[in-house]
Symmetry: C2
Subunit: 221 residues, 2 copies
């Protein structure tokens, strides 16, 4: 059994954190480790009910998730956090408390997240229906030196998860799968993060223009 | 290594939860188990900053601690919670989520807690300086069917902790200490929960009378 560590995903809403995180979680478990995933949405229910989306509340939420990761990690559990965690300072505070901390930046661009718009949130955020939406009306500060940077565009979640697992193996966090007993061939189905084909768009041309303008105004494009 | 379980202490402020809990924690660790103590005061900092002492906030605090206990327990960590947890319903809600749940009622009477008054809180609570203080101006609902009931009056914390450990051994939660290699003789120092001798009182006669009256008014005596 490996020692505990924290795998801290960060990235925009819809970047693929949960989807990729779940695949990595499954692999880590299959290798005989204890693993617990703290997903942003789940944690909002159990840990942070009542907190809003101000900077202060977002930071409190992140530090709280970080504290649970710390407790799990020191008890030899692998903790996977998949919250947006938009502010660099809060992430660095969490990092400072956890010796075995691996930051994973899911670097899907805002343009791509808004194009996929898996939960329809970007549309609502851009129309102003959702205030303080990360990337649209609230800041996102990308990591300056994440251990792992994952490019998801044009790649399947399985491929992205595979990159993370390889990094963990190469850096001694995870024991490679035994080669003596070959595993069953992986199912060769590519599950896209969004069901919408990435070449087309769910938005009309007019909406596209509006998205682009907002992103430009925010300095993202 | 034992499986995880949750040891849920409940009792008044100053009953001895933390003191006894720490001794039990140490014993469980010495037996080769992973163990994490979630103390009421520590948890208020990391998990529940911003919550007050209304019934709703107290319940939220308890459910949140309970959720962390649940996560730890299912990862084979022994979780020890030592918050007051005054409301029966919230405790029962936590119990319902954790298959291996052991409730420990530290049954120190209000009269004795107020007499010890380790942190000087009862004096402040009775004078009205602290509002919503459990047992004085806020309810405490003792468990109807705790797995373990600990009487602390006239006994050392080591004796009380010993009772809990014996129960855990007898019920298969904890492997008894190996007999082949005898442990070093326990240090025979009785550490009282309060430094004040239990026969005397930190209060003047007048204050004593006031304490008694308040306790009577609240239906505790």
């Amino acid at each position: 059994m490996s020692r505990g560590f924290t795998l801290w995903f960060t990235g925009l809403s819809g970047a693929g954190k949960t989807t990729i995180g779940e695949i990595v979680e499954q692999t880590i478990r299959e290798r005989g480790n204890k693993v617990e995933m703290l997903d942003g949405d789940v944690v909002r229910t159990h840990l942070s009910k009542g907190l809003g989306f101000s900077r202060e509340d977002r930071d409190t939420n992140i530090l709280r998730i970080g504290w649970v990761c710390e407790v799990l990690t020191r008890n030899d559990v692998v903790a996977i956090a998949t919250a947006i965690s938009p502010y660099r300072q809060a992430r660095e505070q969490v990092r400072a408390n956890i010796p075995a901390f691996v930051e994973v930046y899911i670097a899907t661009s805002l343009e791509e997240c808004a194009r996929r718009d898996v939960k329809g949130l970007y549309k609502k955020a851009i129309s102003g229906e959702i205030p303080s939406f990360t990337g649209v009306s609230d800041p996102y500060e990308p990591p300056a030196s994440a251990e792992i940077v994952v490019q998801t565009e044009g790649r399947t979640p399985e491929e992205s998860a595979g990159d993370i697992v390889s990094w963990l193996e190469a850096h001694g966090y995870l024991t490679p799968a035994p080669k003596a007993a070959p595993e069953p061939a992986p199912v060769a189905v590519a599950v896209p993060v969004s069901s919408a084909p990435s070449s087309s768009s769910a938005y009309s041309e007019e909406e596209e223009a509006e998205v682009s303008k907002r992103l430009e105004d925010l300095g993202y494009m």
